[in-house]
């Protein structure tokens, strides 16, 4: 049986070798007929450059946010995160404090101020951030659109100044003392465009907004496309920290499939269990250990997420098929239209300058060739094209509200003002160049004489 198998292997190998040699012969025959093939291939369009990704993908980013504290688990969680090099953000309800709840929410507020050690321990000792989560966790949906100050909401509890009570200011003060940004996160993610607008306009960055790129676990998509971090709170469903951990990891994994960064909001104080129960600490510890040990994640502070501190950048949109890598020299941004909106210009291979408005997210205007009124930057001027590599600047040297051209020449720096559309080619043309800084003066201060390329 073994002999049969060996024989079969030899037979198959012989066939393969035969096929291979046939293939080689065919290739040689093809090579003999290559001229016709190559001639045809030369007419194909040039290949595009395709970026090759690095072998190591970037780590996914996680921001750990703990809401609703302080509670009895707060310090344990803070210590654990700190020990793992993680900078968490603790969004505090300033009515909370260590100990039993007081009957009057307003009374407990004062205690939080009187016993601020928790805030300082979080920020100074463990290098975490704290943020404003309201005084009593009352929904900000209840609040007035203009002042965020309801009078008597349901339940009869006076929630006046839910956001701007002295304890909120104290919390902000702690943040500033530690050079942390001032943050606020709406309880229950009750967030409308009105409230968001009031928050962002009233007090620095108390309006916390997160861009679409920064998906949150669970829910919490506020109007206008703003995504706010959402709760992960499974204590009321399963009294099993490890099961909670698995659910949390699975939910996060779902978001990581399509996002580079996820903020994970957990709770260091949970309403459905006793504050003395270490349940929150356990499931948070399990989940964080999983992420740490996987080596696939990088823990970042909440504010480093796009949009959290009020600014971010939208996804890139291709606005023009022109001015690609091989289309012209260095790109230069200037303000060519007098409307405060930027244009982008480049000296193309015909050694003249073309400019395009790119003010829209729609297709950019096709580049306009600017009429070269000056021979210094015309086609066939080898000095500009070869010695200076088509270098130019866009600057409003005459304070006219529109950029003109500054170019290097053997005589010195020359300037051509924008001529407000009076050129032969209409809009975009510029006037003749005039010397604005002689070569001798440039040479005297070291802006000449090196003879090196400006692109080194």
């Amino acid at each position: 049986m073994k002999r049969l198998a060996v024989a079969a292997f030899i037979a198959v190998s012989a066939i393969a070798q035969s096929n291979n040699s046939t293939g080689v012969q065919q290739s040689q025959q093809s090579a003999a007929a290559a001229p016709d093939v190559l001639r045809i291939q030369k007419e194909w369009p040039p290949l595009r450059t395709v970026p090759i990704p690095n072998e190591e993908p970037p780590l996914k980013k996680i921001a750990i946010v703990a809401d609703d504290g302080p509670g009895n688990n707060t310090i344990s969680i803070a210590q654990f995160l700190y020990a793992n090099g993680i900078r968490g953000t603790f969004c505090q309800n300033t009515d909370n404090y260590f100990g039993s709840p007081a009957p009057d929410p307003r009374g407990t507020v004062k205690k939080a101020i009187q016993d601020p050690g928790i805030l300082e321990t979080l920020t100074t000792t463990y290098n975490h951030l704290v943020c404003n989560h309201g005084a009593s966790h009352a929904s900000w949906k209840l609040l007035s659109g203009t002042a965020l100050m309801p009078t008597t909401p349901p339940g009869g509890v006076d929630l006046t100044n839910e956001l701007y009570e002295p304890q909120a200011d104290y919390l902000d003060k702690v943040q500033k003392e530690n050079d942390n940004p001032v943050l606020a996160q709406a309880p229950g993610y009750g967030y409308t465009s009105v409230e968001a607008g009031v928050l962002s306009s009233n007090k620095e960055t108390r309006g916390i907004t997160v861009s679409n790129k920064h998906q949150a676990i669970g829910y919490g998509k506020a109007p206008n496309g703003v995504v706010v971090a959402a709760d992960f709170n499974c204590a009321q469903i399963f009294d099993d920290p490890q099961l909670c951990e698995q659910i949390l990891i699975a939910e996060a994994a779902g978001y990581f499939e399509t996002n580079d960064a996820v903020s994970v909001t957990i709770h260091d104080k949970q309403p459905y269990i006793s504050d003395t129960d270490p349940f929150p600490f356990y499931y948070i510890r399990y989940a964080v250990q999983y992420w740490v040990q996987s080596g696939k994640y990088e823990f970042v502070p909440y504010y480093s997420m796009p949009g959290v501190l009020g600014i971010g950048a939208l996804d890139p949109i291709r606005i023009s098929g022109e001015f690609g890598d091989s289309d012209g020299g260095e790109l230069v941004v200037g303000y060519m239209n007098g409307n405060g909106k930027a244009s982008v210009c480049s000296a193309r291979d015909d050694y003249t300058v073309w400019c395009s408005d790119a003010a829209s997210t729609e297709d950019a205007a096709r580049p306009v060739r600017l009429l070269p009124s000056a021979p210094e930057i015309r086609i066939r001027n080898r000095e500009w094209s070869e010695k200076y590599n088509r270098k130019f600047w866009l600057a409003d040297l005459r304070n006219e509200g529109v950029s003109g051209f500054v170019v290097p020449t053997s005589e010195g720096l020359k300037f051509a003002p924008h001529n407000y559309g009076r050129g032969k080619r209409g809009k975009g043309a510029y006037g003749p160049l005039s010397l604005v800084l002689p070569i001798k003066q440039l040479a005297a201060v070291g802006l000449d004489g090196g003879g090196r390329s400006i692109l080194d």
């Binding site: 595009r48 970026p51 990704p53 690095n54 050079d179 940004p181 465009s193 580079d260 960064a261 504010y303 480093s304 796009p306 501190l309 009020g310 600014i311 971010g312 950048a313 939208l314 996804d315 890139p316 949109i317 606005i319 023009s320 098929g321 022109e322 001015f323 690609g324 091989s326 790109l331 941004v333 405060g340 909106k341 930027a342 982008v344 395009s356 790119a358 003010a359 997210t361 200076y388 270098k391 600047w393 600057a395 409003d396 040297l397 005459r398 290097p408 300037f415 005039s434 010397l435 800084l437 070569i439 003066q441 201060v445 070291g446 802006l447 000449d448 090196g450 003879g451 090196r452 390329s453």
Partner: protein
């Protein structure tokens, strides 16, 4: 004129007269030529660079110089990357600048782990203003990084380093070298700075996103 120092030339209204002046850093020092008010320049003056400013005169570093108002007094100040630190010098409002000082990078901003000490990153070093927040952006390995300029106890710092967009990463077809070398900043839509990138197939624009939309 052979090109030395040209890449560091910037035009900014240093003395507050409304006309852009010429500023550059060369091996001789800081060069300032004031605008005569008609677009031409007066005789350039050289101010010697102070000792201890590490390799700032080398062209790769000098080319990163940014003229930006970092203390809110309405006059452009100097921010520039040296070999091992970012330096700033405040405009004295009389046409001169104060001493070069190392900008304290709180929180590891512009650190090597962020890819920011890689020389290829220098070209993307740019001052921006978005929604009234002034800072420095840089193309780093995980996107467009932004460090806000702030004042802590009278000391100017970079802090709260954050990512403005994760959209420019290797996995999304934007290799790090391109982001570092081909990112331009300009106000393409409104008064806020946006980001323009060049690729083989044309231009891409990423608009800055502000507040609650």
């Amino acid at each position: 004129m052979g090109g030395e120092g040209l890449s560091s030339i910037k035009f900014a209204d240093i003395n507050g007269d409304g006309y852009p002046d010429l500023f550059a850093i060369t091996s001789k020092g800081i060069v300032i030529a004031y605008n005569n008010g008609d677009g031409s320049f007066g005789i350039p003056v050289v101010h010697t660079l102070p000792a201890g400013v590490n390799r700032l005169w080398e062209e790769a570093y000098a080319a990163t110089v940014q003229m930006v108002d970092i203390n809110g007094d309405g006059f452009p100040d100097i921010v520039v990357r040296g070999y091992d630190a970012v330096y700033y010098a405040l405009n004295q409002k009389d046409g001169t600048f104060g001493p070069f000082t190392v900008m304290t990078p709180l929180g590891g901003e512009f650190s090597y782990v962020k890819g920011a000490y890689n020389p290829s990153q220098y070209k993307s070093f740019a001052a921006v203003n978005i929604n009234g927040k002034t800072g420095i952006v840089i193309g780093q390995k995980d996107g467009i990084g932004f460090s806000e300029l702030g004042n802590v106890n009278g000391k100017l710092v970079f802090h709260w380093n954050r990512i403005l967009s994760y959209s420019y990463t290797d996995l999304k077809g934007w290799d790090n070298a391109r982001l570092a070398s081909a990112m331009l900043v300009g106000k393409f839509r409104d008064g806020n700075d946006d980001f323009l990138l060049r690729r083989s197939d044309g231009l891409y624009l990423s608009l800055s996103q502000v507040g609650t939309q």
